[in-house]
């Protein structure tokens, strides 16, 4: 039997790789993929909690997370296409319109 801690550590490592990718990459699409990576890491921990607590509600939560991830991917990629149409670039450091 694999202990729950191992699953949670795997999930944490994948989540932090996602955080690192989101913070460091210049390409906005890779940043977006990193967000998907983080969502997947959370899904791993939810499914393993669900298995070890013998409760199916974690699976329900994963179901909704996948729904929201699909919606987020559609909207986010539409935003990237709209940006790309105006700027012809996918690099975050060249997007300075809002002067933040």
């Amino acid at each position: 039997m694999v202990p729950l801690n191992w699953y949670l550590m795997l999930s944490t490592v994948v989540f932090m790789i996602g955080v690192f990718g989101f913070l460091t990459r210049k390409n906005i699409i890779i940043m977006f993929i990193s967000v998907e990576l983080m969502l997947n890491a959370v899904n791993i921990s939810l499914v393993s909690f669900s298995h070890f607590l013998q409760d199916l509600r974690g699976h329900i939560l994963v179901f909704f997370i996948i729904t929201v991830a699909a919606a987020e991917a559609a909207i986010g990629l539409a935003l990237i296409i709209a940006l790309f149409r105006n700027k012809t670039t996918a690099h975050v450091d060249e997007m300075t319109e809002m002067k933040g």
Binding site: W6, I17, L23, S34, L56, F64, A73, A74, A78, A82
Partner: protein
């Protein structure tokens, strides 16, 4: 012993693949590694007795979301992409942030205490199959959130259409 070997294989491959995803220069390669990563995560779900979740992981993530990513990546100028430095200049700061968060969360995991188990043990789920058990909960206790999820998807469709549509009047 054998389950631990299995888990070890999946853990090592998932970590290596996610590192590859965030560090590859070519976005197409990143998306392809991500595809392999999603299949391995689905394998891990099967390992945790979540067949339905494994199936929608492959159908929705690998089949729908990743194909969407691939379409958008192919719209980009890849030749220009390969010439540009892939990380921002202050990447060591981000490395310190993520490693310290990692240590923090792993320390927190060590001191965790589990709640008492519920009534969906592995045998109970296997008796009525995972999809049936999940459907029973989803369509009774979680019916309202389920309907909201459908509205979220509808809004996503409309929003994506509105955002990606070419403007009718040109700004000039």
């Amino acid at each position: 012993m054998l389950p631990k070997l299995f888990f070890g294989y999946y853990a090592v491959v998932i970590i290596v693949l996610s590192l590859l995803v965030v560090t590859r220069k070519n976005p197409v390669h990143s998306v392809m590694w991500m595809l392999l990563l999603f299949f391995h995560i689905a394998g891990l779900y099967l390992f945790l007795n979540a067949e339905f979740i494994a199936a929608i992981q492959i159908i929705v993530y690998a089949g729908a979301i990743l194909v969407l990513f691939l379409f958008v990546v192919l719209l980009l100028n890849l030749r220009e992409e390969l010439l540009i430095e892939r990380f921002i200049g202050t990447w060591p700061t981000a490395l310190v942030i993520s490693v310290s968060l990692l240590i923090l969360v792993i320390r927190a995991i060590q001191d965790m205490a589990l709640a008492p188990p519920g009534n969906h043990s592995v045998d109970a789920i296997q008796a009525e199959t995972h999809t049936v058990a999940l459907g029973k909960i989803l369509y009774t206790d979680y019916l309202f959130p389920f309907e909201i999820a459908s509205v979220v998807l509808l809004i996503a469709i409309i929003g994506a259409l509105v955002l990606a549509k070419r403007k009718m009047r040109s700004p000039q």
